[in-house]
Subunit: 185 residues, 2 copies
DNA sequence: CACTGTTTTCATGAATTTGTGAAACAATAT
DNA sequence: ATATTGTTTCACAAATTCATGAAAACAGTG
């Protein structure tokens, strides 16, 4: 049935599954539905850089239907990218780029806009008073965050680049030749 | 408090309920359970600055039991403050201070720490490879955000103070603090 | 135009989550 | 003490969400 390339690495699969579950828990605690969390966590933790729906299903050991349901909102939220290769009948999903978290952060812009809109609308219906004032402050906060988000991301990317250079500066540490290419599609 | 003196502003209560619901929707979309979202939204929108459990129940028109269940995690998350006055048998809940959103932001620190921990642990169990590298990046991102959070909040507070002074400072017109608001933009 | 491998939709059953009324539980004031 | 006021816990009913298998819908290939 499911052909495991090599079973000797059972240990590794366990560790991986555990890691995936751990990440998924954090995500669900932040309100992301379980299945979406698992898919994202798996894509984060697993070594491949893209996955077909069935690879995801196999990797997490759930039905393909569940994958289908989870992948759509993930793509919509911008946490997964769907790439379709010409001449292939399978869609491929991949985490956004190398820098996943920048993508995720930037994705929050529209959400903040919705806050701005909603608070503004609500304010327009409410009389003066502390409540309305708090709403206004909320609106201001969301607006501020929206303008600051790109800067924050930029700073993160700079920081990230710095970490990278210091890490790879003393390169010659591939360490584990296990880094076999799985992207030989 | 400023609740039903009689039933004069029925209109207003409707508008308020609508505003509360609107805010609550945004919160639930971010993963906060419905009841918690309503309580928080109500505390944000309503004019009072503190509420007993029963006032919350009345305001949202829901059983006190539901309030009790919703308030606990809110307090735990640091979104509500529970203040007990001596010589009163009722707990009072209030939004954190004037600057709600600073409090909320700062509250995210521990969560980021958990991410750092979880990713580190997961990494320690995984072999070298792209997946592990992505986990590491996640860890770095969370760490960065944790260190940057206070700065971000500080900048927001400065920005906020500026908004405040421009609004109330020169013009000596605190009567209508947000007269600048034109919704037809 | 059938054939094949894949993804999506749909109805179903299961599990989880919600909100409620009623009772138990403080803490105070009389 | 005991009555009073207010909060929390408990068991349960209702509503919602989940994940699955089976089958339909797609897209590419010979």
């Amino acid at each position: 049935m499911t052909e495991h390339a090599h079973e000797p690495e059972h240990q590794r699969d366990d560790a991986q599954a555990w890691a995936v579950e751990r990440m998924a828990v954090l995500l669900t605690e932040q309100g992301i539905p379980r299945m979406m969390a698992r898919v994202f966590a798996f894509a984060l933790v697993d070594d491949a850089d893209r996955y077909t729906a069935s690879e995801l299903a196999e990797g997490i050991r759930v039905s393909q239907a569940a994958i289908s349901g989870a992948v759509r909102p993930l793509v919509h939220m911008g946490l997964l990218d769907r790439v379709r290769e010409p001449g292939a009948r399978s869609d491929h999903y991949r985490l956004y780029d190398e820098d996943v978290w920048s993508a995720i952060m930037l994705q929050r812009g529209p959400l903040l806009e919705r806050w701005e809109q909603a608070t503004a609308e609500a304010m327009s219906q409410l009389p003066e008073g502390p409540g309305r004032r708090r709403l206004n402050e909320t609106r201001e906060f969301m607006a501020y965050m929206r303008t600051e988000l790109p800067n924050l991301v930029k700073r993160w990317q700079e920081h990230r680049a710095q970490l990278h250079t210091t890490q790879t500066g003393a390169e010659a540490t591939p360490a584990t030749p296990e880094a076999e290419d799985r992207e030989t599609h």
